[in-house]
Amino acid sequence: MLFNSYLFVFLFLPLSVSGYFILNHYKWHRAALLELALMSFLFYAYNNVTYVLLLGISILCNWGIACLLNRIKKYRFRKIVLFSGILLNVGSIFYFKYFDFFIGNFNVLFGTDFELRNIILPLGISFFTFQQISYLVDTERGETKDYCFIEYAAFVSFFPQLVAGPIVLHSEIIPQFRDEKRHYFDHESFSNGIYRFAVGLFKKVIIADTFGKAVTWGWSNTDMMTSLEIMIVMLSYTFQIYFDFSGYCDMAMGIGKMFHIELPANFNSPYQSCSIIEFWKRWHMTLTRFLRNYIYFPLGGSRKGKIRTYINIMIVFLISGLWHGANWTFVIWGLCHGLAQVLNRIFATSWEKCHQAFQWLCTFAFVNVMWLLFRAENVKQAVMLLKQMLKMESFTISRELCDSFILPEIDFLVDLVKPLANLRDKVYGIYMWFCLLGALFICLNLKNLSEENFKPTLRKALLTAGLMVWSIVSFAGVSTFLYFNF
């Protein structure tokens, strides 16, 4: 189920939140958690019924392994069990996500002809397996407590974060489940939640999806785009991925707050970063935290000398790249980010001396080019697009690209105001420039929602209602059926 669907907004969300608080009201806390877990399974089942089994099995196995870890006293045995647990998780993620990629590359390398399985990727598998790996590691370290199975299941499957993060830790969530004060409906947290949800919904449905249209246009015309068009499409993707993902996380946090549960922030205005090191402290923060705590530190982090540090960084970013998807584009994307990170460290002092505007521009440009690689269907295509863009040969912008930025409701309103309509007719692609500049403005100037000191006021209420309505009525368009020859 998607957050941006009628079913979710009108039915699923109100039902699950009210059910949770009603059960808690009667002090049936276990039942409330059970309700939460069951609703989460339902949420997951809506996409693919069979994969609910996978989620269930994954939770059961990891719970079993954790129980085993709690029983075993001997250090060596504990390590063996932990190792097999991690292997099991990595194995399942490998099978579902990378098997075809692996077979495909194997075939190319050795000229073999093994059949691809065409496995459909279970939604969110990368998130819930990583989350459970961290749980196993913490259990081995003796950091998990006497959680019961329902608590564990509710924590892993908690639907706001199930399919796209943030990657939460047990120590962040389960204590909140247990906190009696949080069992009761909290007016302020709830209204903050709705506000945050509305903003997230708006970021996803109105902003990201508008840029998404331009990106879709770009990727269906890769051979024909001019240099300037590629640049615009690249920028559009940079904004699309940010507003899409951070909008999703805002919605997740908003829903969490409706349940009176705080989820960790995942973004901190990443496009304001002035270096790649800073970028990764601000982008997908819970992934960075996971990689740091569960891969970088165990590898020795920065304590084993410079060279090892750099190697460790490269390993972490290689894994990060692979985690994002089974394609060489992601691998190279990860390695490039790792390399930039290393260079950033080596030349830290000289970099610090540069003007901030220069630092920002370089960082932003680098991130943009990397997103181009990230979005490309294969490395060849990315290189082709990059070359075509840098050639700076052609600067026309097609009508279709400009038109993908038109929001029909805005156009309708502009039509009503004569001077605006005149301006629109005179300036070619005005909506496009407005969207690009507007998005840049938001990324660079607006405060993070988490930093806002939320107070429920009439203004906020109206803003919430406005954003919510605008987004909801944009869920379904009218699909145009272009059958040219009828």
Binding site: V473, F475, A476, V478, T480, F481, L482, Y483, F486
Partner: protein
């Protein structure tokens, strides 16, 4: 706010989901909206005759049908549809309106030999999201209609210029003759002749014959049988000689004629069906000036079809007694036609 939004849409109802159109307002009749509107039209309009089929029926004028058959017709065509889609809508019409006396039904030859559940061709690969929420009977998914800004904007457009002239008659509605160029030049500019030619004109396989029959049985006969009091005027739309050229190039002349034969044999069984086929109107078919591309004919051809059906013109009415002879004759004609002559002479000044 949301309630007001939904209410506005429900009152204007651009796709006639809840009620017939408000009188005097200019509703939009984009061909692209047929799939959104046709279900509402058959459920909520007042009528006793239906014109349906593919784009080959879009240029019919309901007023002509009304005059010739003394009925009040609605036109609900589906561009590029397969048999199932058209029939499903017709079934809704017949199920919800007991007054229906007449159905004018275009049965296309190019989608006849197809799987009985084949979707409308050309749609699936274009990412078209079929508006099931308007078609199924689940009231909850109406949310997609009522909370939809595109539909609200459509509705507001409709409110703009109310006038008495905005009466809906289904003449111009859904038609495309007004904005297309007809003529030999246009047809030949659009038609890409296949280079090579098949070695022989192949027959249908048993499998294909079975598939065709199942298609007709499920998507035509069943409806005909269930509604014995309704007259079904079915016809096979006459595509241009270029279409036959393409069939010949692909070795499919016999194949198509057999498909037709299968359909004819099945449909002749029913007393309430009048089946017409216009493939023997050679003069019209071979004159590309009647077409805009290799299949689509002009509105004059539509008028001619209606007239001949109303007159029950025996040259085109298919019966138990004449269908063998009819098929033999057209097979003869299209097998031996000099297709190269289409492209032979100068096209300028045509």
């Amino acid at each position: 706010m949301l309630a007001l939004f939904a209410l506005t849409i429900a009152v204007i109802d651009p796709f006639f989901h809840y009620h017939a159109p408000l009188e005097g307002y200019a509703y939009s009749w984009l061909i692209a909206d047929e799939r959104y509107q046709n279900n509402g039209i058959v459920r909520n309009f007042t009528y006793d005759a239906v014109i349906t089929g593919t784009s080959m029926t879009e240029n019919f004028k309901a007023s002509e049908v009304n005059d010739l058959f003394h009925v009040k017709a609605v036109k609900v065509p589906f561009s590029g549809a397969g048999y199932k889609e058209i029939n499903d809508n017709l079934a809704v019409a017949l199920g919800s309106n007991p007054d229906i006396r007449l159905v004018v039904w275009g049965l296309d030859l190019n989608s006849l030999a197809a799987d009985k559940d084949a979707p409308f061709h050309g749609i699936a690969d274009q990412g078209f999201r079929y508006p099931w929420y308007l078609i199924d009977e689940n009231p909850f998914n109406d949310a997609e209609y009522l909370f939809n800004k595109t539909i609200l904007l459509k509705g507001l457009e409709i409110l703009k210029e109310p006038s008495k002239d905005n009466e809906i008659v289904f003449d111009e509605e859904y038609s495309w003759y007004g904005w297309n160029v007809f003529g030999k030049e246009a047809v030949l500019a659009d038609y890409r002749r296949q280079d090579g030619k098949a070695d022989f004109q192949r027959e249908m396989t048993d499998e294909e014959r079975k598939m065709t029959l199942e298609n007709v049985k499920q998507n035509v006969s069943a409806t005909v049988k269930e509604n014995p009091d309704v007259e079904f005027y079915c016809f096979i739309p006459p595509y241009s000689i270029c279409w036959w050229d393409n069939a010949e190039r692909n070795g499919l002349i016999n194949y198509y004629i057999e498909a037709m034969q299968t359909a004819m044999k099945e449909l002749m069984k029913y007393e309430n069906v009048r089946l017409f086929a216009f493939w023997n109107d050679y003069e019209m078919i071979c004159d590309l000036n009647n077409y805009k591309d290799y299949v689509h004919y002009s509105e004059e051809v539509n008028s001619g079809i209606l007239r001949r059906m109303a007159e029950e013109d025996e040259s085109y009415l298919i019966t138990e007694n004449n269908y063998r002879e009819y098929l033999k004759e057209i097979r003869e004609f299209y097998t031996h036609y000099d297709y190269d002559s289409i492209f032979d002479y100068e096209t300028t000044g045509e």
